[in-house]
């Protein structure tokens, strides 16, 4: 089997999930007797392609064009279709990023093929590769298999594989340029500048302790209670997306795929169900405590300590215990 990994970079900087997905590609290749090629797409990205030649790869495809400098779904799909026609992969793997979500289903569909997105792992069973992804916001897992003829497309979630487990090659992989034919009129959308919203008032990545609140906090009036607990623990207050969407806490307190990725020594999740989008932002924390009234909440999957209970009883109890400890 030929596996093609499509890496992601923005303005010359790697998206690190590219390397996690490369590790996944190499592991699948080792188990299925396959070889892996990696593709770099953009404008002026030969240096990045060069970075990849040290890894164990059959080749590095260099997909360059002036019109690929800024990402567009049209430009990337057209160029990648040409790369696929040249390298004829059976399996195309991608990191599951917002950009991949934006073009990969279109790329696959333009070839009449399907994509299994947002996978957290795979199994090699009876000569087949089964992809594992989550459903129902992480409450269930699903085994998904491709049917029909290749190429097949799949993407892996951030944190599903370890980027430091990539195998280096015995000799440098060759760089193969792909001659891209792309005209300005084929690109229908016009990407403008990238920007960040209001300045980050707080840097949660530096906090040793984070107390994060989710939908279970119910009302903005209840947030000061959690804030008090965060202060007593010497930490900062954080939140899952719905809380920031409601405007109860500013966006710079948001943990997850659209917010911050953190790894404090202690992460206390209060009334957070643990949807994938949140968990990818905090699962690297050293110790995770989850308090939730639903014993089946997926947040308990990643928790070291769990309490099934009412946060409105437990937050005051924790505050009281910590204050008592301090006084002693």
């Amino acid at each position: 089997m030929n596996i093609l990994l499509i890496t992601e970079q923005r303005e010359g900087k790697w998206n690190p999930v590219s390397f996690e997905t490369l590790a996944a590609a190499q592991q699948i290749a080792a188990q299925t007797g396959s070889q892996v090629a990696a593709a770099v797409i953009g404008k002026g990205v030969r240096g990045l392609a060069q970075d990849l030649t040290k890894y164990q790869l059959a080749e590095v495809l260099l997909i360059e064009h002036d019109l690929l400098g800024r990402y567009t779904p049209d430009g990337f799909s057209i160029a990648l279709r040409q790369a696929i026609a040249q390298s004829k992969p059976d399996l195309v793997l991608l990191p599951h990023t917002y950009q991949v979500r934006d073009f990969a289903p279109k790329l696959a569909a333009s070839l009449g093929k399907g994509m299994i997105g947002d996978c957290v792992g795979y199994r090699h069973e009876n000569g087949r590769v089964i992809f594992v992804r989550q459903m129902f916001q992480g409450k269930t897992a699903a085994d998904v298999a491709f049917s029909g003829t290749p190429p097949w497309f799949a993407s892996f979630q951030a944190g599903a594989f370890r980027g430091d487990q990539i195998q280096s090659g015995a000799s440098a992989a060759a760089i193969t340029p792909v001659a891209v034919e792309l005209k300005p009129e084929q690109i229908r959308t016009k990407p403008l500048e990238l920007f960040r919203e209001a300045k980050q008032a707080v840097d949660l990545t530096q906090a040793p302790v984070l107390v994060a609140v989710g939908r279970g906090i119910k009302a903005p009036e209840n947030i000061p209670m959690a804030e008090k607990l965060a202060k007593l623990l010497g930490g900062e207050l954080a939140a899952s997306r719905p809380i920031c969407d409601e405007g109860w806490l500013p966006m710079d307190r948001q943990i997850g795929s659209s917010g911050q990725t953190v790894a404090p020594k202690l992460y206390l999740a209060l009334g957070i169900s643990g949807a994938i989008q949140h968990v990818v932002g905090m699962k690297g924390s050293r110790t995770i405590v989850a308090i939730n009234k639903d014993q089946n909440a997926p947040i308990f999957e990643v928790a070291d300590y769990g309490i099934v209970g009412d946060i409105f009883e437990l937050i005051p109890a924790l505050i009281e215990a910590l204050e008592k400890n301090k006084a002693e």
């Binding site: 779904p73 917002y98 950009q99 979500r101 934006d102 073009f103 289903p105 279109k106 696959a108 569909a109 093929k113 399907g114 994509m115 997105g117 947002d118 459903m135 129902f136 916001q137 992480g138 269930t140 897992a141 085994d143 298999a145 491709f146 049917s147 029909g148 229908r188 990407p191 403008l192 500048e193 990238l194 920007f195 919203e197 997306r241 719905p242 920031c244 969407d245 409601e246 659209s258 911050q260 202690l266 050293r286 110790t287 405590v289 089946n296 997926p298 999957e301 928790a303 070291d304 300590y305 769990g306 309490i307 209970g309 009412d310 437990l314 005051p316 109890a317 924790l318 009281e320 215990a321």
Partner: protein
């Protein structure tokens, strides 16, 4: 502007999920269903575009008979018409099969804009909007946090990761997928609920759309995920549990 909104009906957030005997899906009896939350933001955005620029909002949903409920909810909030693509085995479709069916239903009349939520809270494939754009030959943009319409074009704010955003210009007609939190979703008024009773819902059977599709992927089984981490559960009264947790964080995990 004539806007179609694709709305999925999914199990209610707090519904206790049990996996069916065949492991192919969940047991649908005894659980409540609701409008997929990201789709409710897409609907709200469609209603706001209509209020600002005029036009029409058509609510489209695919699924069994019960899916009509989310169409009725959309009509009560202000959508003008409903379109129900009926299929009792909708959950068996792969993302491409679903999108081909929705595309066939949408192709019957011209729309300026097609909106979807960014993903569903049940299967969570997150592909429908992008696939619709490809199948209908339209440009698209995804994970949108703001829409400005002027002179037959849209200027949309796309959310990237880690707090980054990007403005993108998109010509109409187009497909957008909407990020949760783009707006504050309205409630249906009593007047709206009454008015909805007179609004039309057209039902078409999915088989009647003449979609030729061979499944590209198959969900072989769903199951409760195996724990990768051993969670130590702390029990007792709130006071006891709090004391025990602090003790453990201090002396066992050594993080306090």
């Amino acid at each position: 502007m004539k806007v179609a909104v694709c709305i999925k009906q999914v199990p209610a957030k707090d519904a206790p999920l049990r996996i069916s005997e065949s492991s192919a899906w969940i047991r649908e009896t005894d659980i409540g269903f609701e409008m997929n939350e990201p789709d409710s933001f897409a609907l709200e955005e469609a209603l706001r575009l209509k209020e600002k620029h005029g036009g029409e909002v058509v609510a489209l949903s695919m699924g069994p008979e019960r899916a009509k409920q989310v169409i009725k909810e959309a009509l009560a909030k202000g959508a003008d018409r409903g379109l129900h693509v009926s299929d009792d085995k909708f959950f068996l479709l792969d993302p491409l099969g679903s999108a081909k069916s929705l595309a066939a239903a949408l192709q019957k009349e011209p729309f300026d804009l097609i909106l979807t939520g960014l993903q569903s809270d049940d299967q969570g494939f997150g592909q429908t909007g992008v696939l619709l754009a490809e199948l209908l030959g339209l440009p698209h943009a995804t994970i949108i946090m703001q829409i400005e319409a002027q002179d037959g074009r849209l200027r949309v704010k796309r959310e990237l990761e880690s707090g980054w955003f990007q403005w993108v210009e998109v010509p109409l007609p187009a497909v957008l997928t909407i990020q949760s939190g783009i707006n504050k979703v309205r409630y249906a008024s009593l007047k709206g609920i009454m008015a909805a009773k007179k609004k039309e819902i057209v039902t078409v059977a999915r088989e009647s759309l003449g979609v030729a599709h061979e499944s590209t992927e198959r969900v072989e089984r769903i199951y409760v995920p195996q724990k990768t981490k051993k969670t130590e559960f702390i029990t007792g009264s709130a006071k006891e549990a709090a004391a025990q947790l602090i003790e453990k964080l201090r002396h066992e995990a050594r993080v306090l």
